[in-house]
Amino acid sequence: MNFETVIGLEAHVQLLTRSKMFCGCSADYATAPPNTHVCPVCLGMPGVLPVINRQAVAYTIMTALALNCTVSGYTKFDRKNYPYPDLMKGYQISQYDAPIGKGGWLGIEVDGQKKKIGITRVHLEEDVAKLLHRTDAGGEEYSLVDVNRSGVPLMEIVGEPDLRSPEEARQYLVKLRSILQYLGVSTGNMEEGSFRCDANISIRAEGSSKLGPKVEVKNMNSFRAVYQAMDYEAGRQRKAFSEGKKLAQETRGWVEERGKTVAQRSKEYAHDYRYFPEPDLPPLSISRDWVEEIKTKLPELPEDRRERFMTEYGLPLYDASLLISSKAMADYFEDATKTDAYQKLPPDKAAKEVSNWLLGEVSRIMNDNNIEIDDFKRKVEPAQTTRIAAMSSEGVVNISTAKLVMGEMFNTGKSAEEIIRERGLSQISDSGELEATIIDVINSNAQAVSDYKAGKDTALKFLVGQVMRATKGRANPVLAGELLQKKLDEG
């Protein structure tokens, strides 16, 4: 029997505000010592009053608009009761029945087919404290609570169960993150937890409308983890079904090291959040004027930028799509085109040359070192990348040397010129300088010389190769070929 996979994703996004959601403590907790960004409000002391951060609401409206949602004119906050030590108050301030945004969609492309994925709602809540799990000398397990993260604005984006494969789920998340980064509302960093994702996944027999039990999957900390977890889970459910086993509606955690999902211990009591309107926060009436103001200030979004990269720079769809998928990469590309070195590239190919470097060697270095473009940028500025592209294009160095120099630039932080000078890597394009090497190569390769004279073209290639070897790759291969041919035809 054939099955269809049905996936819905829920994303939690930390917003890039300076202060927390309901108090003035700094929201920038990443490098702060434990419990230094805490005040009576986010510590949940009795008698304190939270006050809504206007910027967090503005960011949520922005996101709702970018995701084609309707922005509610009336919205409010609610208490979600949940007895857990990471919630200092014993409840989380969230939004229940009047979210800021609802009923939107996000477009993805799978195998060249455009597809709209529904967005159920976009709402605002607060992040919880961080728990550090420990075991003491006597083997007793306990937890340490660092309250710095508690109260950081958290935006929840709930997607409709419109995704039909692990690849669609991955694409949706990549696209969502790129929109958030373009809007500048979040760093979108999954490893650091500023962009988190839970999934609901079930299967149904093809043609049937009846879904199997819904399984919630948590603990996926990268795009790859989401893909792998969905792939594993879809397979597990199919197998269980075809073996006639009963699937449970449960929460499972993705265990990266084991490449599988495992059932999480179910709580003694089913969740009973007992939501009720937050009495400490008056409701919000979001005016049309405010929404319009935010709308006019929306920055360029990924799809518009892709379009512009194709028309303004003449890039192919493939290049444009890859470059814009990360805002930082697209920014790096545009910065690289605004340099003096860019003028040295042939105008009709300049953009494509820079793109080739970014999608080729630079991406390879990023993958090998498991870093993002921003980390790469700290070592190699966009202007340096353009310079190396120009040097290669002008023939100062050949392409393999250029790649070597790029690697050195990344490793040492030195400039291209410095590396070329220090290591004597510049290309020899002076015939006088090559002459002696060429005579040497002719004298010591009698067989190839006679092959050439007998009309074997490959013999010339072999001889050029010998010149390249003798000059450690520095000879301009085209010039070497010409000089060799001249010498051989003369003699």
Binding site: G24, C39, P40, L144
Partner: protein
Amino acid sequence: MKLSREEVLRIARLARLGVTEEDVDKFREQLSNILQNFEILRQVDTEGVPPTAQSIVLQNIMRDDEVAPSLPPEDILANAPRREGECFRVRAVLE
């Protein structure tokens, strides 16, 4: 209608309150009274009155996104039943 024993125990559990057998009887009585009062309120005709989550007329109370000083960790941890270093120490919690 009086709340059942199980209902009271469940509510106590959700609120993380330890209750004795005596408490259960007392709260069955008291909580039931509260619910009865709401039954009376429900008789009010609210046709045409939009639901509200607030009894005050305030709305749109927001603050600018500005950082204000936090408290020193010593003050934050002053009431901690147990602490370790600069953190609160609590019983092991499982995801």
